[in-house]
């Protein structure tokens, strides 16, 4: 009962910002959490504490779990309770979903879905769904054949296939409910992002920043997958759903058809700007937020102009898709600094008032705290090592670029920081409403860059960057950091050998979990950054961890170990591990449904499908 009370308190504290909750936090149950910043978050839709029904757990993308069974005192006793190998060798990036008594997993290409029954010993397979995507997609995906997550809604598991289809699987039968083809993979675009569901809509976007694609984002109907609205990133205003409601904060983003006029000729059509990252949603404003990729080609001298709306973030009305505002983080991006990283929606104290903001760790090395009603940048400070810009001039919202950082065609320019993959990539951060801090895996590296002129040849790369990457100051390639989004500074950091390319999850007991590319899964004290527990796994970790309560009322923590994706750029570095495909599930002392002297093999579970051997390359 005491435990139940604490859990309830954590839930109520977490949802205190929910205007519709109608319940005041109970004083006696609220933990005495002291926030570093006073930042809070709306944790809608307010799922039951033990469930994890969407990739980032909530619309705001906090990856905050109110669970407290596993805490700073017993975390050192975490052991593997059970594991599950899915047989696919491309990079694993998503987090499992737990809905009711079932866990849902989807592999990288060929995007096989598994439902596991958590109520039975060993979590046996309930069903397997094999969608058989077009193998030609393999040669079109720039950065491994990955999938960053999947969604649950209306009794369906909904996710993207690498070959530009979105598919929905009936969770009761494991059979296909619908499938819609959204683009032509033979021309270059793929789909790798995690579908994101709000109400009756599922939001999806295209990948292909290096393939001369024409990036788009759309809302599909959860019932049958038909397109409700579609917005291209570039091109004329009508195709981008830019109309009278569009009010960017800064004057240089105001004007007609800037998605055409900020490019030479028709180049915006091959300008990529693909929305391949995360989506977040504010239920009060009914707005969604998502970012766009680098412009194509990557050689900037071929596309003079701002290249709107590449390397930017859009705020759109979720129902109509009408653009409300946009902000281009890296105007005329010269270094491949995509703007697709997660936008974490929080509320902060700011000059005596509360402001609804988003926090965005950009590839370019600046962490932006942006008013999400207006698009005004409140804070933009470096969260890691960079030297391409002196600062972001907040009076105009533009970077002040270091002259020595401009690429030159057919000439090596040395020591530009960060390289193309950024100070942080798509690996999602977490936010705790208890500490008021964000937690993120970051990179510390630079590049020597030689640019080449490229021509647009449909279905082939439209790129032009030749580079060598090296570790930044200090010699370590990465860190895991805690970030104050109000002051714009690091609170603590943990040095790691390689890039920290995993997601993070933070709990109501002030534990933050992350993984390393050399195979360590760690729990740290969210307040101090002290590592309290580590477990070496079978492969490097480039996936997002999560935590849930099983039908046995026990808290588990789960993460995939299956290195891949963009992390492959370090595949020749010491410590980089072989690929893998195993989900590890941890509990205190390893107790639970996966072991013990009394466990019997469960009869009647369907055999896994026969799967093709994974390719030996990435």
């Amino acid at each position: 009962m005491a435990l139940r009370k604490i859990l309830l308190g954590a839930v109520l504290l977490g949802s205190a910002a929910l205007p519709s909750s109608g319940e005041a936090p109970k004083k006696e149950a609220a933990p005495a959490a002291k926030s570093f910043t006073g930042a809070t978050a709306n944790l809608a839709p307010g799922d039951a504490a033990g469930q994890w029904t969407r990739q980032a757990r909530d619309y705001a993308n906090t990856r905050y779990s109110p669970l407290t069974q596993i805490n700073t005192k017993n975390v050192g006793r975490l052991r593997i309770a059970w594991s599950f190998s899915d047989g696919q060798m491309y990079g694993h990036e998503g987090a499992p979903l737990v809905v009711g008594d079932t866990m849902y997993l989807v592999t990288p290409y060929p995007n096989i879905a598994y439902a596991l029954d958590l109520s039975k010993p060993g979590a046996p397979i309930k069903w397997v769904f094999q969608p058989n995507p077009d193998p030609r997609a393999i040669g079109k995906a720039c950065c491994d054949k990955v999938l960053r997550g999947w969604a649950y809604a209306d009794g369906k598991l909904i996710y993207n296939l690498l070959d530009d289809n979105t598919v929905a699987v009936d969770v009761n039968t494991g059979k296909e409910a619908w499938r819609v083809k959204l683009d032509d993979v033979t021309k270059g675009p793929t789909m790798t992002m995690a579908a994101f569901v709000v109400g009756d809509k599922v939001f999806v976007g295209s990948s292909g920043g290096e393939l001369g694609t024409n990036g788009w984002f759309q809302a599909l109907d959860v019932k049958d997958g038909h397109t409700v609205w579609k917005a291209f990133t570039n091109g004329p205003d009508d195709g981008a759903l830019i109309g009278p409601d569009f009010k960017p904060f800064y004057s240089w983003m105001k004007g007609k058809d800037l998605g055409v006029s900020t490019w030479p000729g028709e180049m915006g059509k091959q300008g990529a700007s693909a929305p391949w990252g995360w989506v977040s949603y504010d239920p009060d404003l009914n707005e969604i937020y998502y970012g766009t990729s680098n412009p194509g080609p990557r050689t900037p001298s071929q596309r003079p102009g701002l290249n709107l709306w590449s390397s930017a973030v859009f705020a759109r009305d979720a129902s109509s898709g009408a653009a409300k505002w946009a902000y281009q983080f890296t105007p005329h991006d010269e270094w491949d600094y995509d703007g697709v990283n997660e936008n974490v929606l929080i509320e902060i104290p700011w000059k005596g008032a509360r402001r609804k903001v988003m926090v965005h760790f950009n590839r370019n090395g600046f962490a932006y705290t942006i008013d999400r009603k207006t698009g005004e940048v409140l804070v933009a400070n470096p969260f890691g090592h960079q030297n391409w810009a002196k600062n972001i001039d907040l009076t105009i919202g533009m970077p002040v670029i270091n002259d020595a950082a401009h690429p030159i065609v057919e000439k090596k320019v040395t020591n530009i920081c960060p390289p193309d993959i950024g100070v942080k990539n798509w690996n999602p951060s977490a936010f705790s409403p208890r500490t008021g801090l964000l937690y993120a895996g970051v990179f510390n590296s630079c590049m020597d860059l030689n640019n080449h002129i490229v021509q647009y040849i449909p279905s082939s790369p439209y790129d032009g960057m030749e580079m060598q990457r090296h570790a930044g100051p200090g010699g370590n390639w990465g860190d895991f950091i805690a970030w104050d989004p109000v002051a714009g500074k690091r609170v603590w950091s943990i040095k790691e050998n390689l890039y920290v390319w995993s997601g993070a999850v933070v709990t109501g007991s002030d534990l933050v979990f992350y993984g390393t590319m050399d195979g360590w899964f760690r729990a740290a004290d969210a307040r101090t950054g002290k590592v309290l527990w580590s477990q070496k796994l079978g492969s490097g970790i480039t996936a997002a961890p999560m935590t849930f309560v099983g039908p046995d009322k026990r808290q588990y923590v789960a993460v995939y170990a299956g290195i891949g994706g963009g992390a492959g750029v370090l595949r020749r570095e010491r410590g980089f591990m072989p690929g893998g495909n195993t989900l590890y599930v941890f509990s205190v002392d390893g107790n639970g449904i996966g072991n013990g002297t009394t466990q019997l093999t469960q009869a009647g579970a369907p055999a896994p499908v026969s799967v093709p051997p994974a390719a030996a390359h990435n």
């Binding site: 393999i138 490229v454 082939s460 790369p461």
Partner: protein, 112 residues
């Protein structure tokens, strides 16, 4: 002039259909051909997938001993001409037979 060049090309190198796995590269080791292949490797976006140093990225490493579709010159020629089921485009409509052999010569010159 153009028909003459075309005729010379036909004489110099086997036509697409005549190339088999065991067909030797008529341009192997030819410095001019290797340099021309180097240029094509960048110009035709090969480097976008296989990297400017040929060690791979989106696509496989072309310098190591592992070949998914065969590493003999005639097999590499065939892969470039026809593409692969895993998404490498077919280049036979964009490159001449000579140009493909130049690319093969460049790749052969970089093999470990």
């Amino acid at each position: 002039m153009r028909p003459v060049v075309f005729a010379l090309a036909l004489i110099a190198t086997p036509a697409f259909a005549q190339v088999t796995a065991d067909t030797p590269n008529p341009l192997a080791g030819n410095a001019d051909a290797i340099e021309a292949g180097h240029g094509l490797f960048g110009k035709m976006n090969c480097a976008g997938c296989h990297a400017y140093d040929l060690t791979g990225g989106m696509g496989p490493d072309l310098t190591d001993p592992s070949w998914q579709y065969g590493g003999k010159p005639g097999e590499i020629y065939h892969t470039i001409a026809e593409g692969t089921p895993r998404g490498m485009p077919a280049w036979k409509d964009k490159l001449t037979g000579d140009e493909i052999w130049q690319l093969v010569a460049y790749i052969q010159s970089r093999k470990q």
